[in-house]
């Protein structure tokens, strides 16, 4: 297996080097930007008071300077970097996965390898496992860096208990990257050509990841709490807001579209039936670890199924 791993790294060294450089650079950049955000010295209290300035709040001159610098770095560097890490993981999975089997079929080297291999599945494992292990490591570094960046961007909220930018950090980055990798390996094995595999995998990857997130949207309400719209719980940072609805005095939930009402400047609402209140359907940030784990587990299961399907394809496929 070690020999196979060495050969795999040798065969795909340029792609893997590019992918590793891309992810490591983004990770290092995220940590540097996080350090710069910390270095502004803008405390959570200072940032809160700065945000309150347009609404009559007050902040010291020093706080205003620090907060201004903080948000300047945040918008210029931290936000784009956060998005980039979210996009780089699937891109890395795509680039590393599409060529893994497809190039050997395209270059006809699969003829030699498969004529020597007593088990094509073992050959496939020798190709996929080292690259998957490398990607897992790289994705984990990127996920950690992005989480630290998120911690620096929102110092008052624990990123592990927050849904903010969840798909660009933590377990989701790793799971999305590995899912796209598995799609690309399978499509490469089916098509046997690198460029068509890259294009097709990109399309299927987007549809599949999108499909998983759409399914998640259908599942999330089961994890949500119904909370008063103006309660502290509803305003809690890191929570995932799903919807706002009207709760009638009977406890029945109705869509806001069904009522004509006005929200007054003093916070009261007129026009709703007696006893009715506006409530939020909110998944508290404390449930993020569970939701994140379930999502990652679903993606991991799909990835494993796709790789098993790849083994089936490779066992039955012509080498060229």
């Amino acid at each position: 297996m070690l020999t196979q791993a060495r050969i795999t790294f040798r065969l795909h060294r340029f792609t893997l080097l590019a992918v590793a450089a891309m992810l490591l650079l983004a990770s290092v950049a995220a940590l540097i930007v996080a350090a710069r955000l910390h270095a502004t010295g803008a405390t959570p209290e200072c940032l809160a008071s700065w945000r309150g300035l347009p609404f009559g709040g007050s902040a010291t001159t020093d706080c205003q300077r620090r907060a201004s610098e903080f948000y300047s770095i945040n918008s210029a560097w931290a936000s784009p970097l956060m998005g980039a890490i979210g996009g780089l993981a699937p891109l890395a999975g795509l680039l590393a996965g599409a060529a893994l089997v497809a190039r050997e079929i395209e270059d006809r080297t699969a003829s030699v390898a498969w004529s020597l291999a007593t088990s094509r599945t073992r050959w496939l494992v020798g190709r996929v496992a080292p690259v998957a292990a490398l990607l897992l490591g790289l994705f984990a570094i990127a996920a950690f860096s992005a989480t630290e960046l998120q911690r620096a961007r929102q110092p008052s909220i624990d990123p592990l208990l927050s849904f903010d930018n969840a798909s660009s950090r933590g377990l989701e980055v790793v799971a999305i990257g590995m899912l796209v990798f598995a799609v690309a390996v399978l499509v490469g094995a089916v098509l046997g050509r690198v460029l068509p595999a890259l294009i097709t995998s990109a399309v299927i990857g987007v549809l599949l990841v999108g499909g998983v997130f759409i399914s998640q949207q259908a599942w999330l309400p089961s994890q949500a709490d119904i909370v008063d719209f103006r309660s502290a719980e509803a305003q809690q940072g890191g929570a995932l807001y799903i919807d706002q609805v009207i709760r009638l005095s009977s406890g029945e939930l109705r869509s806001m579209m069904e009522f004509q009402f006005d929200e007054n400047t003093d916070g009261t609402v007129t026009g709703l039936p007696a006893g009715a209140t506006i409530v939020g359907i909110v998944v508290p940030g404390s449930r993020h670890p569970f939701v994140d784990t379930v999502l990652a587990a679903v993606m991991a299961a799909i990835s494993a199924a796709l790789l098993a399907l790849t083994a089936f394809v490779v066992r039955r496929r012509r080498p060229s």
Binding site: R10, A117, T118
Partner: protein, 291 residues
Amino acid sequence: MTTTTDSPPLQTYALSKTYGRRFGRRIEALRDVDLAIPAGSITALVGPNGAGKSTLIRGFIGFERPTSGRMTVMGEDPWRDRGRAIKHTGYVPQNASLYRSLTVAQHLDMGASLRPQFDRAVARRRLEELDIPLDRRADELSGGQQAQVGLALALGTRAEVLLLDEPLAALDPLARREFLSVLVSAVRADGSTALLSSHVITDIESACDRLVVLGGGRILLDDTLAAAVDGHRIAAPEDPPAGVLVATFPGPAGKVMALWRADDGGRPATLDEVVLGYLASGRPTRSDRPN
């Protein structure tokens, strides 16, 4: 080297292979092929492009699934029991198909990691005898050297059966001669069985002891090389010897020649003429051309 069965090392039973059925077009690469390659022989598989040579060889290595019929390698079905059948085979594909960025030594490492019984020392010794540097990358080798590395990988498997799919096609005459010399000495030394497809009749004559002529997916001739030459005569169609006409075909200077299965009359046929005659006999007629 021992064989695991008394049956011929390579055998097919009413083997047919059809391509392209799903798209409405059918190309019959092999049609009801019954073949038995005896142990210890070096058999030449000859035929025009599209005759089904590669399909047959790739079937034996488990790369093609028979449409109907059966094939066995040392008694094992290479499609159903690929893992077991492949242990008995060494394969040299067209154009060596080496990993360009790997060195020769890394190819041998790969062979050893994929095939537990791979004998690295044997492969290494053969390459060293040919002065092929083990630390050289495959894309830095000449075509002849690449073919030799491909052959060394196949020989390193110490398999009972060697399958060679037109390995000589891209080689110059000297490289072809060298390749065949290594092949013949290895097969004779190991007592293995080889099936070699080729277009070059002179190479076959020097290396092989059996001849299978394939045309239009059917076997047109299957005999020892000596019997194939001794049992055929060339005579003008209007002056037939006592025998069976195989086919007429254009000879030098546009003269029509006729190949007869006969022991006397006319003049002895050369191997080239035997092959040409049988290929001419197997030319598809309008009714049996693929759609």
